[in-house]
C-alpha cells in the first residue's frame, strides 16, 4: 500500500528521508544483490590461508564441472568445504533474522520485538543442552535436532499461554518473555549442575551464536526455509502495513487478523528455529536491522522485507568475517560481535528518531 506513494509527481522529494530510495525498488534490490555477491566473494578470500578471488572462481567452476580443477586439494577444500558454506550460511542467517525481526515488530506493534521474542531461542538452547549435557534422545538426536525440537516446543508453549491469557499482542510478548526467562533458568541450571568444563564451553559458544560448524546441509536447509518464509511474508506485505494502527484498524481494512497472525508467527518461528538450531542465538541482527532498513525504505513492507533481507545478509557476512579473524587464531562468538556493533547502532537509530515520537 505504501507503494501508493511510488512515482507520484506531486511528492516533494526533500520532506521524507529516503524518498528517492522508495521510488526505485528494483534498482535498490539489484544494487543490494551486487553488494551481497561482492561481499561474499571478498569475505571468502579473507582468512589465515592466502586465497584470492580468482581461486574462488576456479573452485566454483571446477565444482560445477565447467573447468578442470587447477587448485591443490587443500586449497580447494578450504574454499569449498569451509569458507564458502560458512559465508553463505552467514548471509542466509542474516537475511532470515532481519526478516523475522521485521515481521515480529510489525505484527506485535512493538519496536523491541525480535525473532527471539516468542521464546524460540531459549527453547532451542534448552533442547540443545538436554541433548548434549543430559544425553536426552539416546544418541539418535543431534544437538541441532534437539535445538529444533526445543524451539518448536517453546513456541507452542508461548502460543498456548498467550491464547489462554487473552490472545492480545501484549499477552503474546509477555508470554514470550516469561517462557524465555523460565527456559534460560532451566538451561543454566542444567549446565551448572551436570556439565563438565569442556561441554560448558561448547554450549556457551553455541548460546552466543557461532557459524564455525557451517556445512552445506545447514546452508541448504536454512536457505530453503528462508525462501519459503520470504514468499509467505511477501504475500502478506499489505496486511502487515495495515497493522500500523492496531489490530482493530487492520480488521476494518479487510485483514483477517487472526489468520494473518497465526500464519506469520508460525513461519517466522519455524525459520528462527531452523536458524537457531544451525548457528545458535545470534542476537541484535533481528532487533536493530529492521529499524535501520525502515530508515532506508520507508515503512511499506513490500520494500522493507526484501531490503531488510539483503541488508541483514551483507551485515552478517562481514560481522562473521570480523568474528573469525579479529583475534586469530582464536574465534570470537559472532553473537558477541553483533552485540558490540548492534547496541551502539540501536542507540544511534533511537537518537535519530527521538524527535518523531
Amino acid at each position: 500500500m505504501i507503494a501508493v506513494t511510488t512515482g507520484h509527481a506531486t511528492r516533494s522529494p526533500a520532506v521524507t528521508a529516503g524518498g528517492t530510495a522508495r521510488s526505485r525498488l528494483p534498482v535498490v534490490l539489484l544494487g543490494g544483490c551486487l553488494v551481497l555477491l561482492a561481499s561474499i566473494a571478498v569475505a571468502v578470500t579473507i582468512g589465515p590461508a592466502d586465497i584470492g578471488v580468482g581461486d574462488v572462481w576456479a573452485t566454483l567452476l571446477s565444482r560445477v564441472g565447467l573447468a578442470e580443477p587447477t587448485l591443490s586439494v587443500l586449497r580447494d577444500g578450504i574454499i569449498w568445504d569451509l569458507r564458502l558454506p560458512r559465508t553463505l550460511l552467514a548471509a542466509v542467517c542474516g537475511a532470515g533474522l532481519a526478516v523475522c525481526g521485521v515481521v515480529m515488530q510489525s505484527l506485535l506493534r512493538n519496536p523491541l520485538a525480535d525473532p527471539f521474542v516468542l521464546g524460540v531461542s531459549s527453547g532451542a538452547s534448552t533442547g540443545a543442552v538436554l541433548v548434549v549435557v543430559l544425553g536426552v534422545g539416546g544418541g539418535v538426536l543431534s544437538m541441532s535436532g534437539g535445538a529444533f525440537l526445543g524451539a518448536v516446543a517453546s513456541f507452542a508453549l508461548v502460543m498456548t499461554l498467550s491464547h489462554t491469557l487473552g490472545g492480545t499482542t501484549d499477552r503474546v510478548v509477555l508470554s514470550g518473555v516469561a517462557v524465555m526467562q523460565l527456559l534460560s533458568a532451566l538451561t543454566s541450571f542444567i549446565v551448572l549442575t551436570s556439565a563438565d568444563a569442556e561441554t560448558t564451553r561448547g554450549v556457551l559458544f553455541w548460546l552466543l551464536g557461532s557459524l564455525a560448524n557451517a556445512g552445506w546441509s545447514e546452508v541448504i536447509a536454512c536457505a530453503v526455509v528462508l525462501v519459503g518464509t520470504l514468499v509467505v511474508c511477501g504475500g502478506y506485505a499489505r496486511s502487515l502495513d495495515a497493522f500500523a494502527f492496531g489490530e482493530d484498524a487492520a480488521a476494518t481494512l479487510g485483514v483477517a487478523v487472526g489468520r494473518t497472525r497465526v500464519v506469520l508467527m508460525s513461519v517466522t518461528a519455524l525459520l528462527t528455529a531452523v536458524l537457531v538450531s544451525s548457528v545458535g542465538a545470534i542476537g541484535f541482527v533481528g532487533l536493530v536491522l529492521p529499524h535501520a532498513a525502515r530508515l532506508l525504505t520507508g515503512p511499506g513492507h513490500a520494500r522493507l522485507l526484501p531490503v531488510s533481507a539483503l541488508a541483514g545478509a551483507v551485515l552478517l557476512v562481514w560481522v562473521d568475517t570480523v568474528a573469525r579473524t579479529m583475534l586469530q587464531p582464536q574465534e570470537v562468538p559472532v553473537g558477541v560481535v553483533t552485540a558490540l556493533i548492534g547496541v551502539p547502532a540501536f542507540v544511534l537509530i533511537l537518537y535519530r528518531s527521538r524527535g518523531v515520537q
Partner: protein, 290 residues
C-alpha cells in the same frame, strides 16, 4: 427522508415489544420501498461483554447519504454499537445487514470496500507520512504482489483533496495535531471508497473550531455517516437523524427536534436543560445548574 425518520423512531421505541415490531415490520415491507435492504442496518442487536448486556435490542437503519448521530452518556453503548456495525464485534443476538445480506456472510475484504471506520483514538509508532496513512485505505482494494493501480492513486489523491490534506501529504503523521490526525484518518477511510462511514467520537480532544470544521466536512461528504458524539448541540446542528442510547438500549430515535427534548435529556443524562429552537431551525440545548 421524513418518512424514514418516522419509521426509525417508531421502530426504535417499539423494539422492546416483539409483537408490535412484527406488525410494524410487516407494514413497512408492505408499503414503503424496502429500505431495509439498502445500506447498513442493525436489527434488534444485542451484545454482552464481561457478563453485562452492553447493547440491548438496538435497531438502526441510516438512510442513504444521511448523517446519523449516536448520542448517550458514557457507557451507554455508543462505541459498541459502532463496533458491531463495523463487524469488529459480533452481535450476541440480532442481525447486522449490508444491503440485506448478513454481515457475517460478507467477506472481510468486500466489507472493507464498503464500510469504513474511524476510531476514537488511533496512533502508531511507525514513521508514516500522511500519504502512507491514506494509502492504507487501499489495502482492501489491492491484491498481493501487485503495485498500486491508477485507481488506487486516484482514490488517495481524491481523499486528500476532499479533506484538504493534499499540501500535507508528505508530512509525518507524528508531527500532526489532533484535528489533522482525525482528518487524515477520515481521508484514509474515504480512500476505501465506502458507502458507509462509521466514526467514534471524532471530535474528542478537538477545539471548537476544529469540531465545526470536522463536522462540516463529514456533512458535506456523499456518504452515509454514523457518528458517535458527546456534544448535543453539534449533533443537533449537523445530524439528519439522532439515535439516543441509554444503558445499551435506544431511548429515542429520529429527527433531532424530536429526540433532544428537555424530558429525554433529564431522563437519560440526569441534567436539567432548556431546549429552544435556533434561528436556523435546529434545537438548541442549554444546560441549567440545579
Amino acid at each position: 427522508m421524513t418518512s424514514r425518520h418516522d419509521t426509525t423512531s417508531q421502530h426504535a421505541t417499539t423494539s422492546q415489544h416483539p409483537a408490535a415490531l412484527r406488525r410494524e415490520t410487516a407494514t413497512r415491507h408492505g408499503t414503503a420501498e424496502s429500505a431495509v435492504d439498502v445500506g447498513l442496518a442493525a436489527e434488534r442487536v444485542s451484545r454482552s461483554l464481561g457478563g453485562g448486556l452492553v447493547l440491548d435490542g438496538v435497531s438502526v437503519a441510516p438512510a442513504d447519504g444521511s448523517t446519523v448521530g449516536v448520542l448517550g452518556p458514557n457507557g451507554s453503548g455508543k462505541s459498541t454499537l459502532l463496533r458491531v456495525l463495523a463487524g469488529v464485534l459480533k452481535p450476541s443476538a440480532g442481525l447486522v445487514t449490508v444491503d440485506g445480506r448478513e454481515l457475517a456472510d460478507v467477506p472481510r475484504k468486500t466489507l472493507a470496500r464498503r464500510v469504513a471506520v474511524v476510531e476514537q483514538h488511533s496512533d502508531t509508532q511507525i514513521p508514516l507520512t500522511v500519504r502512507d496513512v491514506v494509502g492504507l485505505g487501499r489495502v482492501p482494494h489491492r491484491r498481493a504482489w501487485l503495485s498500486a493501480s491508477a485507481d488506487d492513486e486516484a482514490a488517495v489523491q481524491e481523499a486528500l483533496e476532499q479533506t484538504g490534506m493534499t499540501a500535507r501529504s508528505a508530512q509525518r503523521w507524528q508531527t500532526l495535531s489532533g484535528g489533522e490526525r482525525q482528518r487524515v484518518q477520515i481521508a484514509r477511510a474515504l480512500a476505501q471508497r465506502p458507502r458507509e462511514l462509521l466514526l467514534d467520537e471524532p471530535t474528542n480532544h478537538l477545539d471548537v473550531q476544529h469540531q465545526f470544521e470536522l463536522l462540516d466536512l463529514l456533512a458535506s461528504l456523499p456518504v452515509t455517516s454514523v457518528i458517535a458524539l458527546h456534544d448535543l448541540n453539534l449533533a443537533a446542528m449537523y445530524c439528519d437523524e439522532i439515535v439516543l442510547l441509554d444503558h445499551g438500549a435506544v431511548v429515542a430515535a429520529g429527527d433531532p427536534a424530536d429526540v433532544l427534548t428537555e424530558e429525554l435529556i433529564l431522563q437519560v443524562y440526569n441534567v436539567k436543560a432548556e431546549v429552544t429552537t435556533s434561528p436556523e431551525g435546529h434545537p438548541h440545548v442549554r444546560f441549567l445548574r440545579t
